[in-house]
């Protein structure tokens, strides 16, 4: 009884810790987005100021025969557009002439007519360009007077503009500073709380080992796992450990029970007998047998499927957000009303998803729909999806199936990168021996649900039992 209460208390405190951490994470990740919004807003304000300045200066400049930079640029653009239009007209004339020539030789009058039209085009173009570049003055002031006035106003106005801009920048800086300070204050506050809670947990709850003696560096332990489908014993009394931070490969001939083991770990199957222990964090070891399927991801275990299981109606980015389902904290009514809190969360998670896509080199597909994308890309999207829920253990079911050699090589690099960048452990089932031997730290070979050998890739390759199972050699 006391043990149960203690365990419940621990669960309660740990969930509090998780909430505090996710709050802190939220504040940290929203800060750059918020800063960007402030910057954009002040940039827009500056644009508006410049526009007002221009609106004041442009008529004076026109009167003084000194177009301001914007006016000059606008005129230049107009002239360019005009030139383009006349080039088209010339082309059209040439085309008409070509068509006329195709009917038969041209009479001298016709040739003269075409040449006349060409000349007229050039003339009118030059006239209109001249009119744009030097418009007629509509001012009661004489040119010298207008120029004097223009210069006078210009120095004054430029000064005012510069002052206003500086004031705005200072305000923006102050605003940003306030935001940063507030975030820092909140984070410091949360840090304090987190540290206190963490200390309390470590003090009051001696390292929980569940029912197993799980060493510090072991993340997942299968203990005497068996799975029976009717008369078929798919997994037979299997035990092994997956260590923290390694890439663990599970190999075996077809029908050896590899995927069954995965399904047992992720609770799609209920094992007939045996225990599965998982180190959730520094102090807590849980028994996976106690959790329903949809709670597994909350413990930090994410899996992919052998056949690609994406949501075809959603864009790639939204698919990644589906995988971040457990990270969201807004409730149903917040979603119904699209509250600012939810929008903040969406922004943070979208930024995260884009980051993940960039790491995997999928940025180009972020807004595409997965339907019809190449298989290699789909596999990579599945991989990207696992990274959205802050995993500690990623379970990959045949990641290289259906990929060509080049894609497989890329995948090897990617899996290592994910392990190093996201600090997680990877557990994979694979048929591609090249890939397994290349990336895995530990390989476990099974056949008909029974363990053949476990060890480094080199040891496995040399193992006579494995050779017999794969090649049928007499052992």
């Amino acid at each position: 009884m006391a043990k149960m209460i203690e365990r419940m208390l621990l669960r309660f405190r740990l969930s509090g810790l998780g909430r505090l951490r996710s709050q802190k994470n939220m504040i940290e990740s929203y800060l750059p987005i918020r800063e960007e919004i402030v910057r954009q807003r002040s940039a827009r304000a500056i644009q508006w100021m410049e526009f007002l300045h221009e609106a004041k200066m442009a008529p004076l400049g026109n009167a003084a025969g000194r177009p301001t930079a914007t006016v000059a640029a606008a005129r230049e653009a107009k002239v360019q557009a005009l030139r383009d239009r006349y080039r088209l007209k010339e082309k059209a004339l040439a085309q008409t002439r070509k068509r006329a020539e195709a009917k038969g030789p041209l009479s001298p009058e016709a040739i003269a007519g075409f040449e006349e039209s060409g000349r007229k085009l050039v003339e009118s173009r030059d006239r209109r360009i001249a009119a744009i570049l030097a418009p007629s003055r509509r001012s009661s002031l004489s040119e010298a007077e207008a120029l004097r006035k223009f210069l006078e106003v210009e120095t004054e106005q430029t000064e005012i503009l510069a002052r206003k801009k500086a004031a705005l920048r200072a305000k923006e800086e102050k605003h940003l500073d306030a935001i940063r300070k507030r975030a820092a204050r909140q984070i410091a506050h949360l840090d304090g709380k987190i540290a206190a809670l963490r200390k309390m947990v470590l003090e009051r709850h001696p390292a929980q080992t569940g029912d197993a003696d799980l060493p510090e560096n072991v993340l997942l332990r299968l203990q005497n796992l068996s799975m029976r489908f009717g008369g078929l014993l798919a997994v037979d009394n299997l035990s092994f450990d997956v260590k923290q931070g390694e890439i663990f490969g599970l190999i075996g001939p077809n029908g050896a029970g590899k995927t069954t083991i995965f399904n047992c770990i992720t609770r799609f199957y209920r094992p007939t007998s045996g225990e599965m222990f998982y180190r959730r964090n520094a102090v807590e070891v849980i028994r996976l047998n106690d959790f329903p399927v949809h709670q597994i991801i909350r413990q930090g275990i994410v899996r992919t499927f052998q056949n690609v299981e994406l949501v075809w109606e959603l864009s790639v980015l939204d698919n990644l957000l589906v995988a971040a389902h457990t990270v969201y904290r807004s409730g149903f009514f917040a979603q119904l009303l699209h509250t600012p809190g939810l929008r903040r969360e969406e922004n943070v998670l979208k930024a995260k998803a884009l980051g993940v896509l960039q790491t995997l080199g999928l940025s180009a597909y972020a807004y595409a729909f997965p339907y019809g994308l190449p298989y290699g890309i789909l596999k990579k999207i599945e991989l990207a999806r696992t990274l959205m829920a802050n995993p500690r253990l990623i379970i990959l079911d045949e990641p290289a199936a259906g990929l060509n050699d080049k894609e497989t090589e890329e995948l090897a690099v990617l899996i290592r990168k994910i392990r190093d960048d996201y600090k997680c452990t990877i557990f994979l089932v694979e048929h591609d021996m090249g890939l397994v031997m290349d990336i895995c730290d530990t390989v476990c070979a099974i056949s008909f649900g029974r363990m053949l050998a476990i060890g480094t890739p080199a040891a496995i390759q040399a193992d006579p039992l494995v050779r017999a199972a794969y090649l049928g050699e007499a052992s």
Binding site: R44, Q47, W48, E50, F51, E54, A55, A58, T68, T70, V71, A74, L88, K91, A92, A94, Q95, K98, T266, F268, P292, V293, H294, Q295, I296, I297, R298, V302, R303, F305, E309, L310, V311, W312, E313, L314, D318, L321, V322, A323, H325, T326, Y328, S330, F332, Q335, L336, L337, H338, L342, R385, A389
Partner: protein, 354 residues
Amino acid sequence: MLGTFWKEVRGTLSRVVKHPYFGFILLGVALLIVRRFAELGMVSPSLYKSISSMMIYSIIALGFSLLLGYAGLASLGTAGFVGLGTYFIGHFSGTLQKPFGITLLVALGGAIVLGAVVGFVSLRIEGMYLAIITLGLSEILKEVFKSFTAFTNGVTGLTFRNFMMFGKPVPDAAVDQAIILVFVLVIIATLNIINSPTGRALLAMKNSDSAAQSMGIGLMKYRLLAFVLATVYAVIAGLLYMADIKFSIPGTWSLDFSLNILAAVVVGGAQSILGILLGVFMIFGLNMTVLQNIPFFRQYPDATWILSGVLIILVTMFYPGGLIRLLQALRLKIILLVRNLRKRWRKYRYGEDD
């Protein structure tokens, strides 16, 4: 120089226009204007009546599309739920003269309980069998409506006069406006749900149960939620129906009604709000507004069913995504056609080869 200014204005405008709510709010405003015209006698009252019933049917269809199009659960119990909504209102607001707030609470509570029960059933049973179970439930509800006379006034039907609010009856004009308001709000709520983690979770569940579960989406929670949402929508629609039509008989809430809602969602396009509105117009509105003015259909009113049937067959054969897909395809075709024509013209006129 003015360019900057216009760019700014255009940017703001396009942000407003591209906002997902914009079109539907505009639709609401247009409906308010039509209602005003009806009041002034420029639109015939019967036409306006059919427009407001279309709005009510659209609300039901939206709830149903969350169920079918998003969660992938087939249900034929819609009619029963709507009927229950009408009787809740008719009994509590009409017969017992309770204030509106209490009626609304009772109706929503009933909807949530009923939806949760059906959702719970859906955890065990899927696909066609779920449709049959919900159909059975709907038929049971219909029989209950027929025999539970204290509550429903039996086969003769329940007549309803007016809501009481703040001690006064609510005028018809206010009811009409409320229908438009609720219609727009329901659309906005649906949009919000679709574009939030819940909507995505429902879609993930429809694609693959196991993948959804491995991503932390509990089947129980979301199936219950989908059914509760659909029943709440249906009960809200029932409330509006009673306020608008003021009469409810058990015969209305039969399989025909559920099938018509299903047809509207399938014909229009189960995953697009615009598509659903279109579907409701094709199945219910076309009959009420256009066909009834044609002498042939006035003589043989049942002939409209033939049209609906043909429409359903054609749409499911050629555009399984619904009529909205047809419109989208048409739009794309027109864009391509214009581009192509433009290219050919340029080639003819200017001799460009690109």
